[in-house]
């Protein structure tokens, strides 16, 4: 109910139409959708652009320090889009920040991930952090799909409260696979390029 309301609201505001340029909008395979990050609407827009069948088993990864502070925002994140919360700072030195993500993948869910780790003010993404690489290593059967969100850095830029309704096209690119002998930097660069080439 809340989920449907959310999707409706997001579509009314920013359109969030999916363009499937690489992988098809169907399939049984588990996926990690990774995208550029420029606004708090990103996860919602990408999630709303998925067809309902895929949306039901896809969970956006959301920053704990923004989405899990209780109140309406947390209700939207938990009961609306079924977020996986991730901490951005370690509380203990031995804490594995990716544990909740790995858990969700192990349970069979697909994920929406923003490997920049923070919002960029620009149309093109910042360098990626290593989480995507480590998940790809740990879950080689998961398909990695590059996604580009095109107008949200203008709709709800960092530091603004009210979204401007501009039509956002969600471009789904090709599926990526981590090569057996590929090192971290080479892979992250390739993943970054896969998002950038959709811009």
């Amino acid at each position: 109910m809340i989920a449907r309301l959310l999707v409706g609201l997001v579509k009314l505001l920013v359109g969030a139409q999916g363009r499937w340029l690489g992988v098809p909008p169907t399939g049984e395979r588990q996926r990690i959708y990774f995208a550029n990050h420029s606004s708090h609407l990103d996860a919602l827009a990408l999630w709303a652009a998925l067809p309902p069948a895929l949306r039901r088993r896809t969970r956006p990864v959301a920053a704990q320090d923004y989405w899990a502070l209780g109140g309406l925002r947390q209700m939207v994140a938990v009961r609306g889009f079924n977020a996986v919360f991730v901490a951005r700072q370690r509380e203990r030195p031995d804490q594995d920040l990716l544990a909740p993500l790995a858990q969700a993948l192990a349970a069979g869910d697909s994920l929406i991930l923003f490997p920049e780790g923070t919002r960029s003010a620009e149309a093109l993404p910042l360098p990626f952090k290593s989480g995507l690489y480590r998940l790809a290593r740990q879950f080689p059967q998961v398909e990695l799909v590059a996604v580009y969100l095109d107008t949200l850095h203008r709709s709800l830029p960092k530091g603004s409260l009210l979204p401007v309704p501009l039509v956002c096209t969600v471009r789904f690119g090709r599926g990526l696979q981590l090569h057996a002998d590929e090192d971290k930097d080479a892979f992250l660069e390739r993943a970054h390029a896969a998002v950038t080439e959709l811009a």
């Binding site: 203008r154 009210l162 039509v167």
Partner: protein, 311 residues
Amino acid sequence: MSSGLIWVMAGIVGLLLLASAIGLVLDRRVQASGGSAVIDNLNARIRAWWLMVAVLAVAFWAGTTASLVLFAIVSFLALREFLTLTPTRRGDHLALCLCFYVAIPLQYWLIGIGWYGLFSILIPVYGFVLLPAVAALAGDADQFLERTAKVQWGLMLTVFCISHAPALLILEVPGHDSAGPALLLFLLLVVQISDVLQYVFGKLIGRHPVAPTISPGKTVEGLVGGGLAATAVGAGLWWITPFTPWQAAALSALIVLCGFLGGLALSAVKRSLGAKDWGDLLAGHGGMLDRVDSVCFAAPVFFHLVRYFHT
């Protein structure tokens, strides 16, 4: 709704039934030879017409407020398309929020309460003064004039101009109770039928493009043939309006001309923004602005002429 309007609506539904039947026959014929993109586009357009006529009929039936809400949504979607293609920057954020969340509701509310003196200057005067000031306070001078001009232009076009169509509903013509719905129907019908007929005439006998670099599909033959036919249709509708047949013909010709110029000017804007269509809201029609570009130019001119001569 008066009986005249019901007859006209019935006529429109009849036309659409005919169009759907023709579309079906054409589709059957080309299916045998593997189908045709032109016929598919034609049928998509006809289906979208059904939808638009249905929405409009409901708004007419439900009254002035419903019609104002409907046109406010049209303005919203058109402004969203326009600004999506306009390269705005972080410094425009507050100005853009004001456009969507203040200008649109305020403009249509002012029409709803019949405050002509304010709704006719809200955007050209207060918007013109306030929006650049707000953007300047954000402190980003990069391409400031281009950004401000584009935002103001988009707002004028999609909110100010379009809102003059439902503003016809509040015009009080002496001797004609509730002339508003008839005037609005007259405007929309002449504009849209002119678009369709210009397209048809252009496809059938079009030879000489009017502005090949801007809109290669628009031809002199299409404009003259389609324009004259649409004027004849408008003149034939005089009995639902407060006009004499000759007045209806003259106003129709003017609506046709303004609609043509609107389509042409907006094609040029679209090209300068580097797009083919404004969006993909309606299958076969492109975006909302592709459908209402001619209304944008025709509505304010028609509104002010009727207001000057008939109230």
